[in-house]
């Protein structure tokens, strides 16, 4: 009998990262683990179909054998209500059919929910409904911004319990540096008093949700002029260079893992940036730098990306990149980080105890 764990949570609360971490932990224990995302969400159409980038990432990184349509049978766009209500029966049937397939020969199945727990409540395909169909146990991930996280956690937990869902507990995720003490102390205590299990307080590891240079290349449709070997570097924020080289220097030196955005004709800034080890240099406006400049970047192994957009458009396109674990190739740094988070901050053994209970109960 398969143990199904349903990971849900608030928007951008680190659900995919959690699924990835849990998958690895259980897998290393020798269990047969599966991954399933019944309802995916996509913004980009590929060959006339929406694709959920989280699922593609999971499939690639873990090396899942099942076809993508099986791992994520339904992908919705932003205007979904009419379509879902019209095709309710067939969608539901497809989800259940795929679920049966994916869970075959597995000990544990990790199911990732869509953006928020309430999504598709109107259409009766929300995660509460589905979790009951799957007989799954639910873990709720909540973003630990401030004290309001406790109330949000409580609200969702109570809602799910009232819907008859088997909630194991919560994980407080993405906790900013300055809130850590408060989340571990005051917030966890308050939740404990309200009989909510807290399985972990995870600090904000922005690195995990930061894009790599390759993501930037994809998002901007950039031409890689140099540094092809370093596309798995992480990009933590951007620095737009339109100032004098002297002024830029101080900013460049202070920033770690930043991508530097400037024009291809700013040889002075590009050459200076190359000295401060940025993750990448993005040249906007389709202005080719001179071969000498490209050569200098190549010899330092720093990616030099040429894009057609102007600086403002490029930055606008880069903004939505953050907050997802989408990365091809997944940087080794990220994978290591995901393991570290599991071992240091999440009480996954206790999560597993639910599984043991479950097994004994079903004997």
């Amino acid at each position: 009998m398969v143990y199904t764990l349903y990971i849900t949570g608030t928007k951008f609360s680190g659900k995919t990262a959690l699924c990835l971490g849990l998958y690895n932990v259980f897998n290393e224990m020798g269990m047969r683990v599966g991954y399933f995302k019944p309802i995916g969400q996509g913004h980009k159409m590929v060959e006339g179909k929406y694709i959920d980038p989280d699922v593609t990432m999971m499939k690639e990184v873990i090396g899942l054998m099942e076809p993508i349509e099986e791992l994520c049978p339904v992908v919705i766009g932003s205007r979904y209500l009419d379509i879902v209500s019209k095709d309710y029966d067939s969608l539901k049937a497809r989800i259940m059919e795929c679920y049966e397939k994916v869970k075959k020969n597995k000990d544990i199945l990790i199911i990732e929910a869509a953006h928020t727990p309430e999504l598709l409540y109107c259409s009766n395909l929300d995660m509460a409904t589905l979790s009951k169909e799957f007989g799954a146990k639910v873990i709720l991930s909540v973003k630990g911004d401030d004290d309001t996280s406790a109330d949000k956690a409580m609200l969702y937990t109570n809602y799910l319990v009232q819907r008859g869902v088997d909630v194991l507990g919560i994980i407080i995720n993405f906790v900013p540096f300055q809130q850590l003490e408060r989340m571990r102390g005051v917030v966890s205590e308050v939740l404990c008093k309200c009989k909510v299990n807290v399985y972990g307080v995870v600090p904000d590891h922005r690195e995990l949700t930061l894009p790599t240079v390759q993501d930037v290349v994809n998002a901007l449709d950039a031409e890689v002029l140099a540094g092809k070997g370093s596309l798995d570097r992480i990009v933590d924020n951007y620095l737009v260079g339109a100032m004098s080289p002297e002024a830029a220097m101080s900013w460049l030196r202070r920033s770690v893992d930043r991508a530097f955005i400037t024009g291809g004709d700013r040889a002075d800034l590009i050459l200076m940036a190359l000295e401060t080890k940025p993750s990448a240099i993005i040249l906007t406006g389709n202005i080719y730098p001179s071969v000498q400049v490209i050569s200098a970047a190549e010899s330092k192994g720093i990616p030099l990306l040429l894009v057609a957009d102007d600086t403002f458009t490029a930055v606008t396109k880069l903004e939505p990149l953050e907050g997802r674990v989408v990365s091809f190739p997944m940087s080794t740094r990220k994978i290591q980080l995901s393991r570290k988070i599991m071992s240091e901050y999440i009480d996954w053994k206790n999560i597993l105890e639910g599984y043991v209970d479950f097994k004994t109960r079903n004997k």
Partner: protein, 700 residues
């Protein structure tokens, strides 16, 4: 450095020599033949038996005798093989004219690296690649594209732009300026400007070294070498890419970081290198340094036959800090007695428009006797009675009687003074067409002599510093994967080097903040501690003048809320609590590590005005006591520090001490790449100075 194989080879192989006129291989062989080179010339070309009457060899390995120097002009793809053969043959140096290396992109870069490795393996030094060769009038040899050679002289000229060099060669032949040698640097794969500077400094036949440079890659090495060489002979540099647009063009052209002109200027000043602002100035300076002795003391005399040029020359002299001598009363008396009554006997000495050659000669003879006159400029405008050629001849004749005082001429006009000008130039008296050029040239001579006269100051080292404490702070930041130090860490770090900071503590919550405030004593200041916040005041990260525990609590909570709102992603490590010190004058001491020249220190008026008034001065570390003093004196704020209108003077010596300690700190810890102490609060004399806010960035 011994570059004899390049400057004075006994035998030269021309790899890629050609029989076809117009080809580079032909031009080089022909130029070598016409140069008067006394050694053996070996053309190398597998397709020819004889070139221009010389026996041709299929490979350098087939040459029966030793070869000192090989010049390579074959396509880049074949250069490595040719270089390898030269290595096997025992050739001592290569001049690689062939293009197709670093300047063409990454593959070319790799090829260039391989070429350097071959050179290293066989101990061959390499000039170029992608250069336009060299000329040496002493050997003589001509491995350049310039058909004619300049006349023999004492100017050594090194150029990063080959084409500029070739154009200049052509021009100096026309101007009849003597040259010792011309070197085109090309890509500087192996030999760079510093190597050639060293070689020319050791050559007694060179009296002045001129350089045209766009970038200096090894600034510290350049600084060290030029400081040494300048004591022997002057170095004059024309620097390309001094404007922001120029730097962009130069960077794009060479693929090397041009760097900030400010750093170059500071470095040149420190080393005593003279900066020229145009090609013309470069050669004007070269000319006066080779043709004339250095002035022994301050004070020049101007002898003119027209008021206007004399006045213009005087104006510029004052602007450039060239002293106009006051002519002694004895000399003035003699002049007054013998010159027409309308003449001016002060300085400038106006011999009037009707002056013939003899009147100039008389005035010159008498002025030279004045001990207060250490250099002379003769200005001439062609007027009805003027005898320009005769005057020129008189000046040249007087040269030996000048008692080693430099003399320059300004013969204004065109056709009528042409002959006289050539006569002066050919006889060792630099002659200019406008007075400004002469004044600029003499000012360059003065800059150089003043530098030579500077006493040698030794560096002072402070022993009361704690390097271990600095290392501990740096390691802690590294462990935390940070390049920006927290304000508490930065304060700790500078204190370890004897720089006074207010006593402080890092509080992570309200209770701690109150506890420390009570301990340190009210009033206290709270300041946010985060590596991500640069301007703390702007985001509500500073609370001043807190007088009670209640104040501290409120300020702490407000600060957290405000900072969270303005910079939501900032990592907050806590709050720095320190005892509020009284107000004083606010200064700034900063450092930014220049990529070429190393730590560039800044001093000036601090606080919030620094970005607006820009009253700052710069020096390269390490500083001598004297340089630290000069650095302060360079600013307008120094007048304030000395006390004006009955104000108390500030503790200037405490400031100087702090500057010198920062200088030592950044030299001892090269991983510090940026540093700002702003403000440094300085009190009345003897009352000291404090580093109130310290920012430090480490290298990655």
């Amino acid at each position: 450095m011994n570059l004899d194989a390049i400057f004075h080879p006994d035998s030269v192989a021309i790899i890629g020599a050609s029989r076809t006129p117009g080809k580079i291989g032909y031009i080089l062989t022909n130029n070598m033949l016409n140069s008067g080179f006394k050694g053996n010339i070996y053309p190398v070309n597998p397709g020819a038996d004889e070139i221009l009457g010389l026996k041709c060899y299929p490979s350098v390995l087939d040459i029966p005798n030793d070869v000192d120097l090989s010049v390579i002009t074959i396509p880049s793809a074949s250069v490595l093989q040719a270089a390898e053969e030269c290595g096997k043959k025992g050739v001592k140096a290569l001049v690689v004219i062939s293009a197709g290396f670093k300047e063409t992109g990454h593959e070319g870069s790799v090829l260039e690296q391989q070429l350097v490795e071959i050179g290293k393996r066989y101990g061959m030094r390499i000039q170029g690649p992608n250069c336009l060769g060299l000329v040496n009038t002493l050997t003589p040899l001509n491995l350049s594209f310039a058909v004619d050679m300049p006349r023999r002289g004492k100017i050594g000229f090194i150029s990063q732009s080959g084409a500029l060099g070739t154009a200049v060669l052509d021009w100096v032949i026309k101007e009849n300026i003597g040259f010792h040698s011309f070197i085109s640097l090309g890509n500087k794969a192996d030999l760079d400007e510093i190597d050639f500077l060293e070689a020319m400094s050791e050559d007694d036949e060179v009296t002045v070294i001129l350089l045209y440079l766009e970038s200096i890659e090894e600034g510290r090495r350049f600084l060290e070498a030029s400081t040494r060489i300048v004591k022997k002979k002057p170095i004059v540099i024309l620097k390309g890419g001094t404007s922001s647009a120029g730097a962009r063009a130069a960077g794009s052209h060479t693929g090397a970081l041009v760097g900030s002109f400010l750093a170059y200027q500071t470095a040149f000043n420190k080393a005593g290198v003279i900066l020229a602002n145009s090609i013309e100035e470069l050669f004007d300076y070269g000319l006066v340094f080779t043709e004339q002795p250095l002035p022994k003391g301050e004070g020049i005399a101007l002898i003119t036959n027209a008021g206007g040029p004399g006045i213009l020359a005087t104006d510029l002299s004052e602007k450039l800090g060239v002293k106009i001598s006051s002519i002694s009363s004895e000399v003035q008396g003699i002049l007054r007695k013998n010159l027409p009554p309308a003449s001016a006997t002060g300085n400038p000495i106006d011999v009037l428009g009707d002056a013939k050659a003899d009147r100039y000669a008389f005035a010159l003879k008498e002025v030279v006797k004045d001990d207060g006159v250490n250099a002379i400029i003769v200005l001439l405008t062609p007027q009805a009675m003027t005898e320009s050629l005769e005057t020129a001849k008189n000046i040249v004749e007087m040269k030996s009687a000048l008692n080693q005082k430099p003399i320059l001429a300004v013969f204004m006009g065109g056709k009528t003074v042409e002959e006289a000008t050539s006569y002066l130039m050919n006889n060792g008296v630099p002659c200019f067409d406008f007075p400004e050029k002469a004044i600029q040239a003499i000012s360059a001579m003065y800059r150089y002599t003043r530098f030579l006269k500077l006493p040698v100051f030794s560096l002072k080292r402070f022993d009361d510093v704690n390097s271990t404490r600095v290392k501990t702070v740096i390691n802690a930041a590294r462990m935390d994967n940070r390049v920006v130090l927290l304000s508490t860490e930065a304060a700790d770090l500078v204190e370890a080097y004897g720089i006074p900071v207010p006593q402080n503590k890092l509080a992570v919550n309200t209770d701690e903040a109150v506890e420390y405030a009570e301990k340190l004593g009210y009033p206290v200041v709270l300041r946010i501690v985060s590596p991500d916040i640069l301007h703390k005041t702007d985001v509500g990260g500073v609370a001043l003048n807190l007088n009670s525990s209640n104040d501290v609590r409120t300020a702490f909570d407000q600060m957290m809320t405000s900072v969270n709102k303005f910079v939501p992603h900032a990592r907050i490590y806590g709050v720095m609590v320190y005892h509020m010190i009284p107000r004083g004058r606010e200064m700034i001491i900063g450092m930014s590590k220049d990529l070429q020249f190393g730590p560039l220190l800044m001093f000036g008026l601090g606080g919030i005005y620094v970005n607006f008034l820009k009253d700052v001065s710069f020096r390269l570390a390490p500083l001598t006591d004297n340089e630290a003093g000069e650095m302060m004196e360079d600013t307008k704020a120094y007048t304030l520090l000395k006390g004006i209108r009955g104000e108390d003077p500030s503790d200037v010596s405490a400031l100087k001490d702090m500057i010198l300690r920062v200088s030592q700190l950044v030299i001892d810890f090269p991983e510090i790449v940026e540093m700002d102490i702003n403000p440094v609060v300085v009190y009345k004399a003897e009352e000291g100075a404090y580093a109130l806010d310290v920012k430090i960035t480490l290298s990655k």
